[in-house]
Symmetry: C2
């Protein structure tokens, strides 16, 4: 793995999120958990990664509080992995990534998976909105530190 | 780097998004670009990674169409990196990750960066909604393949 700066003490919430998830493709484990995967073998078949690597990523997600390891739902001796409430809160992240992928990486008519609600329709495109409901784009926001003294103005 | 399954021909839009971004922390390059970083040195100071690694990640993002390499804005000889329209479409992904991090990884009052609109307020929490505006949770949607024959029903 690439050595990188530790991010779990960053003051940026994006960085802490990235750190908690661990590897980029660990988000695909989360995706599979949303789609009903519970057993190690389910994740392995879906992702096609080596057992030891998958085991390590699952462990990171459990330690990070995203997944929980629970007894088998059929009473068997194996463990299963389910999303914690915190893991379920990643739903907008997964949907945002899905919508970005749909918009940019598929030719018209190309086979792809689709997320549908009970009426058979995909969710609305996620939009960043102000408290009063107005649309916000990247130019409409600034990022600044809080909890620290401001630079004195002249 | 961990060997992984190639994802760019996956039929899952989430997987293609993950593949295009490359490394998980490459999303922090995207975050910095949203926050105004343009020069190699800006990204390097912010991220604290080795030059060769940062250069490789920037190259991946340029090749993937997320960033564009442009002449220096001050007329200097260096290149700068700006988000393409496709890269700008990652705004909801960045906001979703920020909000997840804010909700789960900070103690009350702990110093952190904050995203604020022109009126000094953070954006609304992103919500997944149906076309008719109703809230959608993970249980309210299914993911299925399109562009392929359905399993015959009995």
């Amino acid at each position: 793995m690439v050595k990188r700066t530790r991010l779990d003490d960053s003051d940026c919430p994006v960085a802490r999120s990235v750190d908690a998830i661990g590897d980029w493709w660990s988000l695909l484990i989360v995706r599979d958990a949303f789609d009903g995967s519970r057993r190690f073998g389910d994740f392995r078949r879906s992702l096609g990664v080596a057992k030891n690597i998958l085991a390590a990523r699952l462990r990171t997600l459990v330690e990070g509080g995203v997944l929980e390891s629970v007894p088998a739902s059929d009473g068997g001796s194996h463990r299963e992995y389910v999303l914690t409430p915190m893991g379920r809160d990643l739903f907008p992240v997964i949907v945002a990534l899905r919508q970005w992928g749909e918009a940019h990486f598929f030719d018209p008519g190309e086979p792809r998976s689709e997320m549908l609600d009970a009426r058979g329709r995909p969710p609305r495109a996620l939009e960043v909105r102000a408290v009063d409901g107005g649309a916000l784009g990247p130019e409409d926001v600034v990022v600044r530190k809080v909890g620290r003294p401001e630079e004195p103005s002249r």
